[in-house]
Amino acid sequence: MRKKALLNISVVATMALACPAAAHHSGAMFDKGKTVSLTGTVREFQFRNPHCYIQLVIRNERGVDEEWSVEMGAPMHLRDRGWKKNTLQAGDRINVTLSPLRDGSHGGELRIATAIDGRPLRGLK
């Protein structure tokens, strides 16, 4: 019985890393132990299933522009949080905090998004 209890706890702990975003894919590809904060310009806001994306262009420390793919939930989940398909427009300057991709690519899962003036881009309803 004790063995099963331990297994249960272990499974819950590991599975917590892998629960699919409210349907679709596991979050194991993102490093939840890290956060990356970026300020950049929206090139495109993809409001489409199964995941919305902010394509954000930032200028890196070498002065070179690089584009990041910032993954969000499905449109239905964004709507519940007050987002609309035109909440972001190309050219908008925003700040994002994300959990980066484990493979080091320029992408991650969104944690916080704010307008350049610090206004939260969430819960606008």
Binding site: L7, A18, A21, A23, A28, Q46, G107
Partner: protein, 370 residues
């Protein structure tokens, strides 16, 4: 099967069976019926509902500071009182949960009743449908019918449900549920003989509570009892089905690891704008209407006019009419499959032949049937 399971299961059955029988006997002024008496249902079952603690953030995962989704999903594979057989079955769940490659298509039953997907009830006297945002659908027949016979029923991810309304309480029995890990690996891997009983009612405005008992002697040590709370969705009153249109699926694997594809790879190929055409009179169109035979073959080209547009059909290769657009009064093309045809007139101006190209640019030609 443990004695404990058998004893407890019998007790649950003993409680559930009279409840169902009583509901059948007492509804609709004493006439045995399970149908919803719309005047007696009481409470407001309308709107959109979501399991308690299952609202998600804008990234599709748990709310900041909220209950982790897996802990909140009371019907997840991690919550059941598994027997040794049950524990042996959650290997798929663990393996798929730890894999970056895992996708899910929806939630299935019973997980859809404790998932982050809102759902709604559609209630009519003889049937109640429970429809989730991810298009998981349960039909609960309340017209008095039983389950399909064993030899006619096959197990599905949603099962076969019958129900009884007793005033404002809906009791649902579900059987024939199949665990399909490729669809929802997090759902409990019960056997296909599992038996589910739910009793749900509106206990306060915007709050439904449900007592659920799952019995499965093959995989559980005892009946699995779950208390569910459903809350009217605080931010949403409209069901939008958008769960399986994966047009923006950017999950890819590179070097054995999951990552996000380049955005250019996810953008659908640019569609060419519609090719312009010229407008022709009915008389000009009628000039080419008729039947033609391809040179050297029995294949037929048929041209007919429908209003201000020509349609072509090519038997036996394309036995359906598709619209044609005009480049001029003798040259036409199909915007649908790319066939192009130029008609050729004789000295008297009567159309005698055609030539052109097939969709793969093969030259085609033929003569008008006399």
């Amino acid at each position: 099967v443990s004695d404990r399971f058998a004893a407890t299961g019998m007790a649950i059955f003993a409680l559930a069976a009279p409840a169902l029988a009583w509901a059948q006997a007492s509804n609709s002024q004493g006439t045995p019926s399970c149908a919803a008496d719309m005047a007696r249902i009481g409470g407001d079952w309308g709107g959109l509902w979501i399991a308690e603690n299952m609202e998600v953030d804008m990234n599709g995962r748990e709310m900041p500071g909220g209950v982790p989704l897996l802990h909140g999903m009371k019907f997840s594979a991690l919550s059941a009182p598994w027997s040794d057989e049950g524990w042996s079955r959650i290997g798929d769940t663990v393996r798929m949960g730890l894999s970056e490659a895992t996708n899910i298509g929806g939630w299935s039953y019973p997980l859809m009743m404790s998932s982050p997907a809102p759902f709604k009830f559609i209630i009519s006297p003889g049937e109640t449908a429970i429809i989730s945002q991810y298009r998981d659908i349960r039909y609960v027949y309340t017209d008095g019918r039983g389950h399909e016979p064993d030899d006619e029923r096959w197990a599905t991810p949603w099962g076969d449900s019958t129900g009884c309304w007793d005033g404002g309480t809906l009791t649902i029995e579900t059987v024939g549920v199949r665990y399909v890990p490729a669809y929802t690996f997090l759902s409990p891997p019960l056997s296909e003989n599992a038996h589910f009983v739910e009793r749900m009612r509106v206990v306060a405005p915007g709050r439904i509570e449900s007592e659920v008992t799952v019995m499965d002697a093959e995989t559980l040590t005892q009946p699995w009892q779950v208390h569910m709370v459903y809350l009217r969705h605080p931010a949403n009153d409209r069901l939008v089905h958008d769960g399986e249109t994966y047009e923006n699926d950017r999950l890819v694997f590179e070097g054995g690891s999951a990552t996000i594809s380049d955005p250019a790879d996810a953008v659908p190929a640019a569609r060419s704008p519609a090719r312009p055409s010229v407008e022709l009179s009915a008389a000009q169109l009628d000039r080419v209407v008729g039947s033609y035979t391809f040179d050297g073959t029995p294949a037929k080209l048929t041209i007919e006019r429908r209003g201000d547009r020509l349609f072509s059909r090519i038997d036996p290769f394309r036995p359906l009419f598709l619209p044609m657009q005009a480049d001029d009064d003798l040259s036409f093309f199909s915007p649908t499959d790319g066939v192009s045809i130029r008609f050729i007139a004789d000295g008297a101006g009567r159309i005698r032949r055609f030539e052109g190209k097939s969709p793969d640019n093969t030259p085609i030609a033929g003569a008008r049937d006399e």
